[in-house]
């Protein structure tokens, strides 16, 4: 529902190839496709800015990252597209009103460890899975 406005915004984005990008070179695809392609963006969650240093001992924050961009045909332009994303794209092309395009979403997530005090001043070191987006792709 926000496609028109969103596409307009996306066209203005700068090209920033994702780590480990493969496939065809920039000349093989329309440059606007490259600019709007699904990719990972940096987003840092700062525990320090939240004023949580009194109970979080480490880290000060973590690079959570997020995924954003278009997942449009051809999917080779996008890294880490799942096989089913191709099916989703085909069905979308046949019925664009009712079937959405594949989504730009994380394909690789990593864990972080957080060291913090609880209410009793005991210390907890805990590993949290799926906190950091390492790679994005089309699903």
């Amino acid at each position: 529902s926000t496609g028109g406005k969103r596409r307009q915004q996306n066209r203005n984005r700068s090209t920033q190839p994702q780590d480990g990008s493969r496939g065809l070179g920039p000349a093989d695809y329309n440059s606007s496709d490259q600019k709007t392609a699904c990719r990972r963006h940096e987003l840092y969650v700062s525990f320090r800015d939240l004023g949580w240093q009194d109970w979080i001992i480490a880290p000060e924050g973590y690079a959570a990252n997020y995924c954003d961009g278009e997942c449009s045909f051809p999917l080779n332009a996008h890294m880490n597209a799942t096989n089913h994303a191709i099916v989703q794209t085909l069905v979308h092309l046949m019925n664009p009103e009712n079937v959405p395009k594949p989504c730009c979403a994380p394909t690789k997530l990593h864990a972080i460890s957080v060291l913090y005090f609880d209410d009793n001043s005991n210390v907890i070191l805990k590993k949290y899975k799926n906190m950091v987006v390492r790679a994005c792709g089309c699903h």
């Binding site: 915004q9 996306n10 203005n12 984005r13 700068s14 920033q16 963006h41 940096e42 840092y44 969650v45 939240l50 949580w52 009194d54 109970w55 001992i57 480490a58 880290p59 954003d68 990593h110 864990a111 460890s113 957080v114 060291l115 913090y116 005090f117 609880d118 209410d119 009793n120 001043s121 005991n122 210390v123 907890i124 070191l125 805990k126 590993k127 949290y128 906190m131």
Partner: protein, 261 residues
């Protein structure tokens, strides 16, 4: 911000409103599995032995993301004194490899209880294990004491250190104790001593009413009862970084489900 440290042009910038910020903080706390922001009572807490020990573990696993668990194990083993037994059993190693949460507990006993003449040198330790997140099971737990080199009076002596679990307390007589471990110590040895209290910790987590703490006693080789201070064990009046504490390793035994808000 992109790789060149420039703001992504598509990113919408606006300052969050106060209630949005509060909601966002709640969401992050929810991701961390916490019902509310912890409010620890810290005086010199950050420089105490338990947080320092935990920070060491954290630094080790953070510096080597690829082998987080191995790093944890290596670091853990390197903190042990040369006199203390190594982690040799397959079961212990497997427990540590499986751990996905480590928690340290501070000793809550401010002053030692009034013990009977027979137990006048007993020392008491209590730990609050009531706030273990649901679904976490203890895979290993240790009680850690720091021993310093003692005065020349006892330098060539050995001590017998006994660690007991308090089973039941009575108003009119001595508490019932269960001997967990008895260990010989050289008077001249210095470093951390670790005692396996896995079974005891499991009982305390499953049944908090049974958490009546631990007691220790010390005797010279001639059978004379001595205080823990005489044997070089660091107590409340000792250095902050050498305070006794317990550490437990946990494994998630249930699938974590975020609560409905």
């Amino acid at each position: 911000v992109d790789g060149n440290n420039e703001v992504h042009p598509g990113f919408i910038h606006r300052r969050l409103r106060t209630h949005e910020k509060r909601e966002m903080q709640k969401e992050i706390l929810s991701i961390l599995g916490l019902p509310h922001r912890p409010r620890p009572h810290l005086s010199q807490g950050k420089y105490n032995s338990a947080p320092l020990f935990m920070l060491d573990l954290y630094n080790t696993i953070s510096s080597d993301e690829k082998s987080q668990v191995e790093g944890l194990l290596d670091r853990y083993q390197s903190t042990r004194t040369t006199q203390s037994p190594p982690l040799t059993t397959y079961q212990e190693t497997a427990f540590l490899n499986d751990a996905d949460m480590v928690m340290s507990f501070v000793n809550l006993v401010e002053y030692d209880s009034e013990f009977s003449p027979q137990r006048r040198h007993h020392k008491e330790f209590k730990f609050n294990l009531s706030q273990i997140p649901e679904g976490e099971a203890v895979t290993a737990a240790e009680f850690r004491l720091y021993k310093e080199c003692v005065s020349p009076t006892f330098r060539n002596d050995t001590f017998q250190l006994k660690v007991y679990q308090v089973l039941k307390e009575h108003p009119d007589r001595e508490a019932d104790l269960f001997l967990l471990e008895s260990r010989s110590l050289w008077a001249a040895e210095e470093g951390w001593l670790e005692f396996d209290i896995t079974a005891t910790s499991n009982l305390w987590v499953m049944s908090p009413v049974h958490n009546l703490g631990l007691q220790i006693s010390l005797e010279t080789s001639s059978g004379q009862s001595i205080t823990s201070k005489e044997a070089g064990l660091v107590g409340r009046d000792g250095a902050l970084e050498k305070q006794p504490f317990m550490v437990a390793f946990f494994k998630v035994s249930e699938v974590y489900v975020r609560t409905t808000r």
